[in-house]
Symmetry: C2
Subunit: 229 residues, 2 copies
DNA sequence: CTGTAAACATGATAAAAGTCATGTTTTTAA
DNA sequence: TTAAAAACATGACTTTTATCATGTTTACAG
């Protein structure tokens, strides 16, 4: 049996929760469920999207390729994220690329339905607005951190943020495993610097690792570090 | 005679242009025009705002104070900007501080009116949404620049952005004069590094200066620099 | 005007971070 | 299972950027 949006709990995590029954029904009738493999491109910077991707499971990165050959990850998407929302709203080409970091289940929702709901359902428009406003607040804070904090501080911040966003598995490890290079691309540094910094954290018993998996051992010390010691 | 919002051209520059006649009338009746002196604090990070500030003239900086004692400027507000919009929408404390960089004329609009219009006028809600979505796109790009570009590149970028946002005066100088320290706080570097970089630009005839005033002499070269040469 | 504070400028040095090289370990796919 | 590729790790070195010190210029209030 096909999954219906009406019964989907993911909806509670994003702006789609403000949709009315009939809107939900229309969306559910036209949405397409997709399985995306790890490493697969969801969309590329500069593409014109004809819909958004509602993430049911799995993790993806939103990033920009830079002139220096590196990627800068702007956001990691958790479950509930609506990928492409911003560019569908403004009806312009995407500003970022999206790539799956694990196998993912997403629902593709044609943009016409969203635009209809934005035009006719103030509650939905408000929900989207709140969502984007929170993204903006978060982005502003990232700007400040990028500009004013050291690589070590940003590494600490990133680890904590990953744990906050994705939680921990049964062994206490952060429930998302990124390569050191991806972490470096979130932090905004070279992978060597990232590797070295995480090694330092490990020596100082701030974290422990098992392969790529990371466990926070001393959150307080990480926070102290972020604040500048 | 008191200035009426109905006749104010500034409105065309922001989301208030989507307001209907009666909404505009109510806002105009309750708004307060204020003159703000250079250096004056408009609001402080963490404050609860009871309204927004529509900028009629003058320039202000939106910034965050950091643990290291420096400020990071996240945005420079031009004419038409609605200061405090984001935090009034989300109904939370401000994430940034705002300080006037020149004498300013602003109109203070109580938040109740905005919230009423957001709840009842989809066109207005959409206009605000577009506005915030654009801010988000801009912020994402700043993140990428902060993380991946050198101080020299970011200085070049900042100068061009200032010219784009504020234009030039009759002599061709950028129509906003910041201290080197403020420029450094936009770029995300120390004031000495900023001063040195601008000196280099001057020697290379990329810009010329007159006191604090800056004129772009070779925009192409600045662009080439930004792209990495 | 003019004294004083703020802003600008620049040198010297230290610290942070990037780059390159190389070897090891882990993953992945045939 | 195993060979190849990718990821991890670390040393050596370079470049970039921050910090400190000091002198000059500019802006502005009395």
């Amino acid at each position: 049996m096909h999954n219906r949006c009406e019964n989907c709990i993911i909806r509670e995590l994003n702006s789609l929760k403000a949709l009315k029954k009939d809107e939900l029904k229309r969306i559910s009738d036209s949405k397409v469920s997709k399985n995306i493999k790890k490493g697969e491109v969801i969309f590329k910077e500069g593409e014109k999207l004809n819909g958004v991707f509602c993430v049911r499971s799995g993790v993806s990165k939103l990033f920009k390729m830079c002139d220096n050959g590196k990627d800068q990850i702007v956001k990691m998407s958790a479950r509930g994220e609506v990928l492409g929302q911003r560019s569908v709203i403004t009806d312009e080409r995407t500003n970022l690329s999206a790539v799956a970091l694990s196998d993912m289940e997403v629902c593709y929702i044609p943009k016409q339905h969203l635009q209809d709901s934005i035009n006719n359902n103030v509650d939905f428009t408000k929900a989207v607005l709140l969502n984007i406003a929170n993204d903006l607040k978060f982005a502003d804070n990232v700007i400040v951190n990028m500009a004013q904090k050291s690589v070590k501080q940003r590494c600490a911040e990133t680890i904590i943020h990953l744990e906050d966003s994705f939680g921990t598995d049964c062994d206490g490890f952060i429930a998302v495993t990124l390569t050191r290079e991806d972490i470096a691309n979130v932090v905004g540094t070279a992978k060597e610097a990232c590797i070295r910094t995480l090694s330092t954290f490990k020596k100082g018993k701030l974290i422990s690792t098992d392969g790529k998996r990371i466990k926070i051992e001393n959150k307080k010390a990480l926070y102290r570090l972020i604040e500048g010691f």
